[in-house]
């Protein structure tokens, strides 16, 4: 047992490669046998990853899902921000500049529209739940933008820790739902070309949600959605503690 632990912990990134490989193989097998290819194999793999993350979080009490299990720590490195961003940038290889220009304006508008709409929806729901303090309403609204914008805004305007935690949870729900929901609704919202993918990335904004959602829908769309999504959190952090907070403050 100790030999296992030593080898697994010392080579944790390699363990992660092997584990993810087996998971993807199993997911594609399931997609083929159980759904006759109607559900994309990568959608199943991502869902399995989320389920594993839930049990990892419950078992360890940590906040990075399966990566908190000592022997599977490599999952944290493999799925962490550094390699994720590296691989996202690599997907832009072969993208035509003309495609980006075509949706440029719509992409920019969608970033601002996405931040404001998510914020308003989150803030409105917090009011429905009886929150009246402008800082608390703003923080929960910002959490509905992304789970990074929530705490950044909350800390900037002095919201309580419980509300900040709540805003992170709202952002996590959003991110996970985008991962699972995107392949299911793609057909109905016209998500099948580079232009709508750029708008989609700008509207959703959660980089992990968009990254996984598009991967499970059509990997060819990933670079377009990721391109706009990566501006979203920055714009959210810009608007949340400033204009959006001032507006909420004026209303309550």
């Amino acid at each position: 047992m100790e030999i296992f632990e030593t080898v697994f912990v010392r080579n944790n990134l390699i363990v992660a490669f092997a584990l993810v490989g087996v998971t993807i193989w199993f997911s594609y097998w399931l997609a083929d046998k159980l759904t006759q290819g109607r559900i994309h194999g990568s959608a199943i793999a991502i869902a399995l990853g989320l389920v594993a993350a839930y049990f990892g979080g419950i078992a360890t009490g940590g906040n990075t899902g399966l990566a908190d299990v000592a022997m599977l720590g490599g999952i944290g490195l493999m799925g962490g921000g550094m390699l994720r961003d590296f691989a996202i940038v690599a997907t832009a290889f072969g993208v035509q500049l003309s495609e980006l220009k075509k949706a440029g304006l719509a992409g920019v508008i969608s970033i601002f529209a996405g931040v404001i709409v998510s914020f308003v929806v989150g803030a409105a729901i917090s009011v429905m739940f009886g929150y009246t303090d402008p800082a608390e309403i703003t923080t929960i609204g910002a959490g509905a933008v992304t789970y990074i914008v929530g705490p950044v805004t909350g800390e900037a305007i002095g919201a309580s820790n419980e509300v900040i935690t709540l805003s992170v949870a709202a952002g996590l729900v959003k991110s996970i739902l985008v991962m699972i929901g995107t392949p299911l609704v793609a057909r109905f919202i016209g998500l099948d070309n580079p232009q709508s993918a750029m708008v989609f990335g700008g509207l959703m904004g959660t980089t992990s949600g968009v990254a996984a959602g598009l991967a499970a829908t059509d990997p060819k769309l990933v670079p377009y959605g990721a391109m706009t999504a990566t501006f979203y959190t920055g714009v959210g952090c810009l608007l949340g503690p400033s204009i959006l907070f001032f507006i909420v403050n004026g209303m309550f």
């Binding site: 099948d192 059509d218 377009y224």
Partner: protein, 130 residues
């Protein structure tokens, strides 16, 4: 050489991140503003330009394609390290706020996709570059 492509990819990411970080500081925001997106633009420019041919064609290009192909496995690992337990623990308010934000945003995709399209009806549905 495979490593030439990998090095180009790395240079794009680092340059993009530096600009994104500088934008964040300039705007007074505690976040990297579009670093990855800017890095992607650099890679698109490089892969569409003749000057960078030696870094994007042949074996060097394979070095970039490898990481592009590793994207889905990396996303699966990313899913496995999300704080799903916290999302489930967030209660009804967090659940509703997250779900409603996603539903409304999904609904806006077809609306905003029409912006800047000269002939929305006649345009052929293009699946993007292969």
């Amino acid at each position: 050489m495979i490593v030439y492509g990998v090095a180009l990819l790395s240079a794009c990411l680092i340059l993009g991140m530096l600009i994104g970080e500088a934008l964040g500081v300039m705007l007074g925001v505690e976040a990297n503003v579009g670093g990855v997106g800017i890095a992607m633009l650099f890679l698109v420019l490089a892969s569409n330009s003749r000057q960078f041919k030696a870094l994007t064609e042949g074996a060097a290009g394979d070095g970039i394609k490898f990481w592009s192909a590793m994207y889905i496995p990396i996303v699966v690992a990313m899913a496995a390290r999300q704080n799903v337990a916290a999302a489930v623990d967030g209660g009804l308010l967090a659940l509703l706020a997250g779900v409603a934000a996603v539903v409304v945003s999904f609904a806006l995709v077809p609306v905003l996709s029409k912006i800047g399209k000269p002939k929305p009806v006649d345009q052929p549905q293009d699946g993007g570059p292969a």
